[in-house]
């Protein structure tokens, strides 16, 4: 399989998520997959909504057989086969002021009944409102063997659709004014 492993890199700091992605990639390559590691540059000066929107606009869905995302806002990249593994202690990972549970509607869009997302701690599961049976603990990254562990989250084109449309119109108007 051709797998995109995506993670956000916050404020120019290469941290645990980058190491986790690299380890995940190595394991996947060893298992016979092709891997493309992608770092998204994000800044805590941008609101979570802006970060979410930027991620949603990236056309990853045109490429690869699957996309694995490790943190916010990489978890919102569009792809027909998206698997999310939250490894960070906070789902947002960057902004402790973000309202608890704000990520949940973006991720699940009311369709969480048949979804699973792997998480690294019960605290994340609680924030996301995951059902107990959906919570699976993970071994340390170095020990994790990739088989079929991560759940698939179907992409939903309706996600953020009004915001996308508004932003697109704003952009066109902005450029038109300067044409």
């Amino acid at each position: 399989m051709r797998i995109i492993v995506a993670f956000a890199e916050h404020d120019g700091q290469s941290g645990a998520d980058a190491r986790c992605a690299a380890a995940l990639g190595e394991r996947a390559v060893a298992a016979g997959h092709r891997i493309e590691l992608v770092a998204l540059p994000v800044s805590s000066s941008k609101s979570p909504q802006q970060q979410a929107l930027a991620a949603q606009l990236m056309p990853f869905d045109a490429y690869g057989d699957a996309l694995w995302a490790l943190n916010f806002p990489a978890c919102l990249l569009r792809h027909r086969r998206r698997r999310i593994w939250f490894t960070h202690s906070r789902p947002f990972g960057i902004d402790p002021r973000a309202p608890a549970g704000a990520l949940r509607p973006l991720l699940f869009n009311g369709r969480d009944g048949d979804l699973e997302v792997r998480v690294a701690s019960d605290a994340i599961a609680e924030t996301l409102g995951l059902k107990p049976e959906s919570i699976r603990g993970l071994p340390p990254v170095g020990e994790h063997v990739i088989v079929d562990g991560m759940a698939m989250l179907d992409d939903d084109p309706a996600l953020l659709a009004p915001e996308l449309e508004r932003a697109r119109n704003d952009l066109v108007a902005w450029f038109d004014a300067r044409a």
Binding site: P41, S43, L53, M58, P59, A62, Y63, G64, F175, D176
Partner: protein
């Protein structure tokens, strides 16, 4: 200095631009800087993706970095207080390819709106950029023509020039390039029906699509050229490519209006091989001078065939022509010190 190198890319594909972006990052690090590359996709199918991608790059925040280096649309649209643009090419579908079979944008209102957005984005993000370089005269001329902005040319060097070496001159003309309509391997095949000398043609490179390859193979069969044209339709490593070039008679590279001089051209010169190109091959003509460092044919099969026969009959001058091409590249200051110096200035 903390530097972000921002480029667009196609996941799971590595072409010249991707390799070059990797090399820029590596060379900046070797120069003692904390360089980090970010590669994000850009899509134009369906067409509304163009504007979405543009918006996504505009929304990136790279303020944690002291400098941003960007190459292609829409990566160079990112906002940053200290941005250096080394322009490989604009979104040509909105410019010189608009109104041609290569437009790839709808022709109606929707296409016009997307085109307007691209041009406006370039006017707002590219034209006022204080540090802007182009990779060739062709790119610079296009920028001047369509956007009214001049720019200094900064040529892209080979990533690993030392790999390319000279061997014995063989009996084949080689074209090491992605197999695609724009590179015109079909025209080379057509030319082989007119070649009188005992020269073979070797086409080595990844096909852009399976249809391109199928068309090529069908043409070879239809012309009865199986014994004279060899196709190796896959990704060719640098070492394999160097070996192919090292034992060729000459290198053929006849793209349609190429933006840059083409790495293929410089690879040939490092291997002391002349280059066969066409009068409409764009930036390639910056290095290939007819009769000095290669042969410039008209873009038709008979003229190209004459070029192949001419090179086959010039065996005693092949090395001299290759040397002349390399000397011209040196005179144009094509090398990493020039590139890194400009990007850090």
């Amino acid at each position: 200095m903390k530097i972000a190198v921002l480029s667009t890319f196609v996941p799971f594909y590595r072409g010249g631009a991707e390799i070059l972006a990797d090399s820029v990052t590596e060379r900046l690090m070797q120069a003692g800087h904390d360089a980090r590359q970010f590669r994000l996709p850009f899509a134009w199918d369906p067409p509304e993706r163009v504007v979405e991608s543009l918006l996504a790059f505009r929304m990136l925040d790279l303020d944690a970095y002291d400098r941003v280096v960007a190459f292609k649309f829409p990566a160079y649209c990112v906002e940053h207080h200290n941005k250096v643009i080394w322009l490989f090419h604009q979104f040509r579908q909105a410019y010189d390819l608009w109104g041609t079979p290569y437009q790839h944008l709808p022709s109606g209102d929707e296409g016009a709106r997307i085109r307007r957005s691209v041009i406006a984005a370039d006017s707002a993000c590219l034209v006022p950029a204080p540090r802007l370089y182009c990779n060739s005269e062709v790119t610079a001329a296009r920028l001047e023509t369509f956007n009214g902005r001049g720019a200094e040319v900064l040529y892209a060097p080979l990533v690993n020039p030392e790999v390319f070496h000279a061997g014995e001159y063989g009996d084949y003309i080689v074209c090491t390039s992605r197999i695609s309509g724009g590179k015109r391997q079909l025209l080379l095949v057509d030319a082989m029906t007119h070649v009188r000398s005992n020269v073979r043609l070797v086409l080595a490179g990844m096909p852009e699509t399976s249809a391109e390859l199928e068309r090529l193979m069908q043409r070879i069969d239809a012309l009865g050229l199986r014994d004279r044209v060899h196709v190796d339709p896959r990704f060719i490593s640098e070492e394999e490519k160097a070996d192919l070039v090292a034992h060729a008679l000459a290198v053929a590279y006849i793209p349609v209006d190429e933006d840059s001089y083409g790495f293929v051209t410089l690879e040939a010169y490092h291997a002391r091989r002349p280059v066969l190109t066409c009068s409409d091959s764009g930036g390639v003509l910056k290095l290939v001078v007819d009769g000095e460092s290669g042969y410039v044919a008209e873009p038709d099969a008979q003229s190209i065939a004459r070029g192949i026969d001419h090179l086959a009959a010039s065996r005693n001058r092949l090395a001299q022509m290759g040397e002349a091409g390399l000397a011209r590249a040196t005179a144009l200051d094509i090398g990493w010190p020039a590139v890194i110096g400009k990007l850090l200035a």
